[in-house]
């Protein structure tokens, strides 16, 4: 069903050695006239078929750029400086544009915070979905229409046949997001990247979208990378979590493991910030300011905001394994919070 450009890996086989998506030592930078600025310096991430990996971090941590790099959709002037992105083992870096375009949508797809950016406001949603099917698959228009209706029905659009003729602005925010998910999944991609798709939505609407993606993941066996700044949300849906700070992964762990024993002080701070208490209690926070690209500390980039700085933090730490996780810190926290 997916593109012939990729080797055929059974999506559901659990012991497959090939990851659906594998990012290795990705570096992304902004190419300026005189100098280039690093935006992402070291992200390695492997997502197995059917797995959901949460990518968490503050604004400016490089999480969205990592996603755009996987899609080959980096903004002008921003380039992949080093590293590789592999889709079922096939490298996307340096791939011909035409081939990449064929893979986009059919093998890897993305949904955004604002669905209006990826839906054409002047075209009926039905024709947008049908055209995507016709462009990638050898089917008749009638078959494509039938497929589109089924899909819209599947993502929870009531009266799907009728709504095929509606324009994007005729839908509410949550419904529009469902339409975008339908458009992204129409070619049954192996990998779905979700960049804060629920941030602009109300909590009750958000819950429905999360539920939908979880179900579709189960049905289609696709790998999902879910980007969010909201740890509470990630805790509801991810199998594993990668925490990003200042352009690099600082901690990667299983979801439950991460919340129970955060190892990196930054992860700990994020969890603390998201935790809510009773009236009168103070709120948790991380001191200082979000690190801006081009203004990162030379050693450990989190050191200026960290409360556990020790001698050695002026050296830039590597991501190293610790228990079942990996962490980029020379003085990681343990379960009881002691040294």
């Amino acid at each position: 069903m997916t593109s012939d450009l990729l080797p055929d890996v059974p999506a559901s086989s659990p012991d497959t050695a090939v990851s659906a998506l594998e990012i290795s030592s990705l570096q992304v930078s902004l190419q300026g006239r005189q100098a280039s600025t690093s935006l992402v310096t070291d992200v390695s991430l492997a997502v197995a078929p059917g797995e959901i990996v949460g990518l968490v971090g503050e604004s400016g941590s490089g999480k969205s750029l990592t996603a755009l790099a996987c899609m080959g959709l980096l903004p002008r002037g921003v380039v992949i400086a080093a590293g590789d992105v592999r889709l079922s083992g096939v490298s996307l870096v340096g791939m011909e544009r035409k081939k990449l375009r064929a893979l986009r949508g059919s093998a890897i797809s993305m949904i955004f915070q604002d669905p209006l950016t990826s839906l054409d406001p002047c075209a009926r949603i039905g024709s947008q979905i049908v055209e995507t099917i016709l462009a990638h698959r050898d089917v008749t228009a009638a078959e494509a229409r039938k497929d589109a209706v089924e899909l819209l029905d599947r993502v929870g659009i009531p009266r799907a046949t009728e709504r095929m003729r509606a324009y994007p602005h005729e839908f509410s925010g949550g419904m529009r997001q469902r339409v975008m998910i339908a458009a992204a999944l129409v070619l049954r991609p192996r990998v779905l990247i979700a960049d804060e798709p629920t941030t602009a939505l109300d909590v009750t609407t958000q819950a429905g979208i999360v539920e939908l993606v979880l179900e579709l993941r189960r049905e289609l066996g696709m790998a999902v990378v879910w980007i969010s700044h909201d740890l509470g949300l990630i805790g509801q849906l991810a199998d594993r979590v990668a925490v990003m700070y200042a352009g690099e992964v600082v901690e990667m762990a299983g979801m439950r493991d991460l919340f129970v024993t955060p190892r990196h002080p930054y992860t700990h701070g994020l969890i603390d910030s998201a935790r809510r208490g009773e009236y009168g209690e103070l709120f948790g926070f991380i001191r200082g300011n979000v690190a801006e690209p081009g203004h990162w500390a030379a050693g450990c980039r989190f050191a200026p905001r960290c409360e556990r700085v020790v001698a050695g933090c002026e050296q830039h730490p590597e991501l190293r394994p610790l228990d079942q996780a990996s962490v980029r810190c020379i003085n990681p926290m343990t379960r009881d919070g002691a040294q």
Partner: protein, 299 residues
């Protein structure tokens, strides 16, 4: 660096570079030099008209040497039907045209800002009044107004400026009103209202200051369209009268001799096209430079 805030929605924690460095940066230097050349040529054109001892440069007639082609001795761009030097004629005419352009632009901008802000920010009744005034003005052709003014005060520099400014400003007022409608919903305007700042002060401090980019860009466009407008009105005999030089005047005089000599028509025509193209390009460039988002996304 400018891309980082666009991608993350976060400001970059550093100071903006200075005005001088911006002006001399590689993207701007050509436009700055071009503008300086245009302005100094215009200034020379005005000076030789204003200082009596310099007027001979473009006014001196030489009936021995009428309609000399370009590259003749003493007359680099040739002479006109009265043997006047075409090069100096054009420079003096450029001075007139630029003065008209700038005059029209300033008048239109002031009128447009006042009416646009009045309509956009001072309630529904004000908006209705402003809209009627703008619509009527918008529907009024500049030529008709010029005919009326020419009949009333006689065709002159003032006629041209008034005819163009009194019709042009309406377009600008519309744009300003649109901008104000979106600015007034911004929270800093709400905050100022909550702080008890009077409306007149808000419209100066918060609205006018944020209208500066669109105003600058449109001023440049107005200069360009007014130069063309002047040439048109003068060509029809409603504008500048001889012996005052202007692009339109040189064109309309030269037209009578087009069968014998091309240069009195072609040369001012080409100059007109070059100047208007340059000004339009400058406007586009400024738009990109003054809009922080445009600076990033311009392709």
């Amino acid at each position: 660096m400018a891309i980082a805030p666009a991608l993350t929605g976060q400001p970059v924690g550093h100071r903006e570079r200075g005005l001088l460095r911006t002006l001399t940066s590689r993207a701007n230097i050509a436009w700055v030099i071009g503008s300086l050349i245009l302005l100094s040529a215009g200034a020379v054109g005005v000076i030789i008209q204003v200082v009596p001892s310099l007027r001979h440069l473009y006014l001196n007639q030489d009936l021995e040497a009428t309609l000399k082609p370009p590259l003749s001795p003493h007359h680099l761009l040739g002479t006109d039907n009265l043997g006047r030097d075409l090069g100096w004629q054009l420079i003096a005419g450029l001075g007139t045209s630029l003065a008209i352009g700038i005059g029209v632009a300033l008048l239109s901008v002031v009128l447009g800002l006042i009416v646009g802000i009045f309509g956009g920010f001072f309630g529904r009744a004000a908006d209705a009044v402003a809209n009627v005034v703008v619509d009527v003005t918008w529907a009024f052709p500049a030529i008709l107004l010029a005919v009326v003014l020419a009949g009333w005060i006689g065709p002159s520099l003032t006629t041209v400026i008034l005819a163009l400014a009194l019709t042009n400003w309406a377009g600008f007022a519309r744009i300003v009103r649109g901008e104000v409608l979106s600015l007034r919903e911004r929270d800093f305007v709400n905050a100022a209202r909550v702080l008890g700042v009077p409306k007149v002060l808000i419209s100066v401090r918060h609205l006018a200051s944020n209208l500066v980019p669109v105003t600058i860009v449109l001023t440049v466009y107005f200069i360009a369209t007014s130069i063309i407008g002047e040439a048109g009105l003068t060509f029809l005999g409603l504008g500048i009268q001889p012996p005052m030089p202007s692009m339109g005047e040189t064109l309309s005089t030269g037209r009578e001799y087009i069968s014998e000599s091309w240069w009195p028509v072609i040369l001012p025509g080409v100059l007109l096209v070059i100047i208007v193209l340059f000004l339009n390009g400058l406007g586009d460039h400024l738009r990109g430079q003054l809009d922080p988002r445009g600076r990033v996304q311009r392709r």
